[in-house]
Structures are given as structure tokens and as C-alpha cells.
Symmetry: C2
Subunit: 163 residues, 2 copies
DNA sequence: ATTCTTGCAAAGCCTTTGCAACTGC
DNA sequence: GCAGTTGCAAAGGCTTTGCAAGAAT
């Protein structure tokens, strides 16, 4: 995966999550299941859905129930640690905390997600919002298509089919 | 709703759909339920989800079953008459055939969708795809926030709350 | 006549939730 | 010990699907 700049953060994801939990109107608890999830999720940078996470963690010997995973993922999104990305067919999560704002190219063939940053986009959003007197709170931007590898494969195949 | 330019089309949506149905490998049939749906959907320009469509059509006295509505909506998307927009919480449909390419501002308060066109966007997409050797097939772009009315209402309320 | 579509109800999929047992603080 | 969390299984939305009856060509 192409690397985007990380953002300097003073706290670890785990600390940040604890802070979120304890600063709630009614303090929430930091449990071992939640700790396992945060540590596992932030041990690598990738895009994953709930099922993948459950399978992978179970494979590594963690004890996690489906309900707890869903509950904790919601908290992590709420805490600003994860971002939820709705791809239509499935919903994936990615790191938000400590990671630069970016958008995605989504390959419809192999499901890979290529991250990119483009300064033009922020300006475009501000222009449009200003023009429509709209108060911007966020956006969803996904470019769909075929990654270089899948496109090449498909083009080659098509050429062969014609022979 | 702010008006975007319609696109000149030589066929009515109904004709276009018939053409799609009959030009399939195995010809499909054009039924009265499908006709009712196409005519109703293209009688006004708006964004709607499956449930809203069913309720509205039943209210107008049409006989449509849930299963048929879902089946026909899928066909209409496939035929290029409708575009499916995934908003996360719900999935809505809008006219595709005969309507200019555009994107949306989505008000999280009142669920209204404001359409906009911005020539900068197409260039941005092409730039990014060229840079990543990505073969573009489409995109999802939704700016989320508060429309002018809802933002004004919320700001006013906050001011009153402080009194 | 043949083949596709409809409507119903059932099933699928993903996610949430009620509840009793459990655990952090 | 109190209040929040877990795990299970059940329930919730939304969408699809199997099947027998009905309709288009």
C-alpha cells in the first residue's frame, strides 16, 4: 500500500480511547476485550470489516464475541479512532486517529483500496459549500474502477479472447 | 430544489427501459407493474428509497408488491435509468437517464439532498487516476453537513439556549 | 404454449439488543 | 458493591429468493 504521512499524535490509540471512555458523562469501562481489539486493530494499517476482524482475531487466539466487536467498533468510531467507510456492498473501517485525512480509489475487481490526498478537493468542497450556504461536516469520496493490476489483466485477457 | 440542466434524450424512460428489456440475451417482459413504476418514478424528480416509493404508490392506488419493487428497481439501475445512492443509513434512488451528471450535499438534519455540478471535480478525478494508473469507472461523492435552513435553526437555538 | 413475472412468505445478511452472568473501578 | 460490559441467542431492518399462480409474447 502506498504510504500516506502519519500525523504526530501525543497519545497512543489505547490512551486516547481510555480518555474518551472516562470523559463521558457516565464513565465507561476499559475492558480486556476492548484493549485486545484496540491493540490488534492498530498493530497494522489496513481496511477491514467486522467479519474479517473477528476471523483474524479468533485465528490469533483472542476471545471476542460478535456482539462485543460491533459494540466496540461503534465506540472506536465515536471516539475518533476509526473511520467507517460505506462501500455499498460492505462497510469497512480504517484508522482515523494518527492518520492523515485522505480519500480512496476502490478497485471493484480485487477490493483493494488505494489512499490518496489531493489539496484540490478541500478547496472544491469549500467552494461548493460557500455557494450553497451549506455547513460542511464531512464527506464521502470514493473513486471506483480498476486498479492498475486488474485493469492490465482484464485488457490482456480481452486481447487473448479475440485470438 | 435547485434545477440542474436536463440532458436531451431521444427516448422516453419507458421506451429506454423496453429497449433494455428486449435487448437482453434472453428477452425480458414489460409488465404493467413495471410500467406503473417507471411512469410514477419519472413523473417527478426527487430522491426516494424503496419504502417511500411503495408507500407513495400504494397511496395513489397502485398495486405493487415489495418484492416486485425491489426487483424492478434493480432492473432500472441496471438499465441506466436510475442511480443508486448509498447514504449509509439508507439507500436512495434518483434519475440517471436524461439527467446531468452531478453530486450531492446531504443534510444530516432534514435529509434533503442538494445537487451540484463542479467542473473541478472531473479534473481532480482524472488527475488522481492518472497518477495512480487507475481505471476510473465511476465515483461516489457526498458532502455531509447541514443545509442553510437547518444550520440557521441550530445556531439560533443555541443562542436562545444560552439566555 | 412457453417462459418470464408476480406476490407471498420465508430466508439471508448484517447489525443491534434483552438479559443473566460477570468484571472494572 | 454498583454500574457498565460480555456473550448468547433472539430480534430488527432491509433485501433477496423459492415457489405456485398469473401474465406477456
Amino acid at each position: 500500500m502506498n504510504a500516506l504521512p502519519s500525523v504526530e499524535v501525543s497519545q497512543s490509540p489505547e490512551e486516547k480511547f481510555r480518555e474518551y471512555l472516562t470523559s463521558r458523562p457516565r464513565a465507561q469501562r476499559y475492558t480486556s476485550q476492548q484493549r485486545d481489539m484496540v491493540q490488534y486493530i492498530f498493530s497494522k494499517h489496513n481496511h477491514f470489516d467486522a467479519d474479517e476482524l473477528i476471523d483474524e482475531m479468533k485465528g490469533k487466539g483472542f476471545r471476542v464475541s460478535r456482539a462485543t466487536v460491533y459494540r466496540t467498533l461503534n465506540k472506536l468510531v465515536d471516539a475518533g479512532l476509526l473511520r467507517r467507510i460505506n462501500l455499498g456492498e460492505r462497510t469497512v473501517f480504517e484508522h482515523d486517529y494518527g492518520y492523515a485525512q485522505h480519500d480512496h480509489l476502490y478497485c471493484e475487481q480485487c477490493s483493494s483500496m488505494i489512499e490518496f490526498q489531493d489539496p484540490q478537493l478541500e478547496k472544491l468542497i469549500q467552494d461548493v459549500c460557500a455557494q450553497q450556504s451549506f455547513h460542511n461536516l464531512g464527506h464521502t469520496f470514493i473513486i471506483r474502477g480498476l486498479c492498475a493490476t486488474c485493469h492490465r489483466a482484464r485488457t490482456t485477457k480481452r486481447r487473448l479472447d479475440l485470438v
